[in-house]
Symmetry: C2
Subunit: 336 residues, 2 copies
Amino acid sequence: MTVTIYDVAREAGVSMATVSRVVNNNPNVKPQTRKKVFEAIERLGYRPNAVARGLASKKTTTVGVVIPDIANANFAEVARGIEDIANMYHYNIILCNADMRKDKEIRVINTLLEKQVDGLLFMGGTVTDEHLQAFNTSNVPIVLCATTDEKGNMPSVDIDHEGAAFDAVTKLIGEGHRSIAMISGTLKDPAIGYARFQGYKRALEKAGIPYREDFVRVGNYKYESGIEATQYFLELSDRPTAIFAATDEMAIGAIHGLQDAGIAVPGQVSVISVDNSRMASMVRPQLTTVAQPMYDIGAVSMRLLTKLMKKESVENARVTLPHELVQRQSVAGAKA
Amino acid sequence: MTVTIYDVAREAGVSMATVSRVVNNNPNVKPQTRKKVFEAIERLGYRPNAVARGLASKKTTTVGVVIPDIANANFAEVARGIEDIANMYHYNIILCNADMRKDKEIRVINTLLEKQVDGLLFMGGTVTDEHLQAFNTSNVPIVLCATTDEKGNMPSVDIDHEGAAFDAVTKLIGEGHRSIAMISGTLKDPAIGYARFQGYKRALEKAGIPYREDFVRVGNYKYESGIEATQYFLELSDRPTAIFAATDEMAIGAIHGLQDAGIAVPGQVSVISVDNSRMASMVRPQLTTVAQPMYDIGAVSMRLLTKLMKKESVENARVTLPHELVQRQSVAGAKA
DNA sequence: CTGTTAGCGCTTTCAT
DNA sequence: ATGAAAGCGCTAACAG
């Protein structure tokens, strides 16, 4: 039925150990023997059983990554960064989607740990005590990627969300805007939603612009919620001249919400956001936004994880990658 | 160090077999014993080792899915369908991205098979002889999902790409268009690129419109290539009045390429495509497109796979799901 | 350079 | 209802 290492050994006239050696590229095998074994493998169509290997060696050479939402382009980009580095270090990666649901995140973490991954990458999403608890039961290294824990105890790679939001809003202020509304993500999410909201407030404060509650709407990071929030702003007697959206997707919603109401962007209202996803160029006017280096976040966090898995010492286990304003066409100066 | 089933057995004062039974929900355990075991598990923080279990039982309750491009929203949607059904049947799924590269697809298939998945879903992408060869070495069921093999020998779930393209172009013709250009995907891909191209040709033919080679440009399914193709069409002395793009993303590129050149959509040129991705509503004018039931493709293929894994008999192992025209704002009648 | 021999942690007959 | 024991397929000392 299934051909095992034992079958190969018999076919090649050597011991299992020798077959194991050639399969694992152990140099201590005579070239001639190696050849014999390879031939036997070929002849029998032998495929090593990774499960048995994992049990015997206590290593699976695979790292698990939990991705909060597979449909989110940003996370996809992070995943690409992870993969490229993982391949470089000969790790397999198994992706598990958590569908934006906390219970599923916890379940997926446990599943991955049961599967004996050699390390875990937890991407995006809020890190609650429950998460921490699940992480604690693990004896493999875990790094947070595109998120952080509030306590700051875990290795992580992220950007400075508060600072990115601050820079975006400051850009608007620099263009002369004083009536700046925000379409926020959920404030319950400390890692992203709340941090970006804080950046908005700080930029206002620094410029001496009073904070107005009616200038903030909470969306769900999605396009439709950007439209809805914008429609709300348009009903205000005192309309904003600029909108800061916490994500590109909501910003595109804002642009369309504005345009559908016959308002020119950026002629009458400017729009800015944070992300610089691929979509930012796929809208007219093209979106001015603060870029997050998603690919790098993935790459750096995977690199960090490899070090941790090899028990190498790491200088700094909490890295913050720089962000940067990308100017396109959705921001213009405020009318005097 | 790591706590094993043996530790739990000792702690609870029972045998390994009994612990195994309660962990696996075997009814043949006295409630009282069950309770004792659960307490021991709790006290020790026992987590079953899926690798050991997999080796002993020769089942991993996980299915591998290879996804050609994690950044593609359509595939993400298929993946969601897969997941929902997998959860329902208590299978874990592990996603492996193949980065649109054939060699990586083959490698990933082999990795998954080595990991002893109980079944495999191969999503999108062309199925070559090399693929078939890799599939053949497997003794677990495999189903193609959002693609098919040319020979038609493998279980698969897909839509009728040729028919979808035919319907899209026919819609244009119904609106009075006769100068219809196409932005195709690569013709090398029989499952999608070529099939949609064939649909375009057949619709033209049926309407008695001669096929013109200069009205077809091959793109790479991406936004930018949609723009480029459109710019090419605009340079023609004899411009098309409508553009059929093989994917939404290229269609959005077409819309913007047109608008950037000062051409009204759909006023002067109509645009239609196939996909109905989320993006179709995230553009102005909103895109008229033929919907593919991506989620259902995922769900149905996973369901099919569960049947195959349980060795249930299946009536039809090659299913084609229906498509449907979704009318939005990017198509208008041809000027008389 | 190669073979022997214990396990890795769990499931699964087979007894009892 | 429970336990004993034989593996699952492979790796990793250890010995030679």
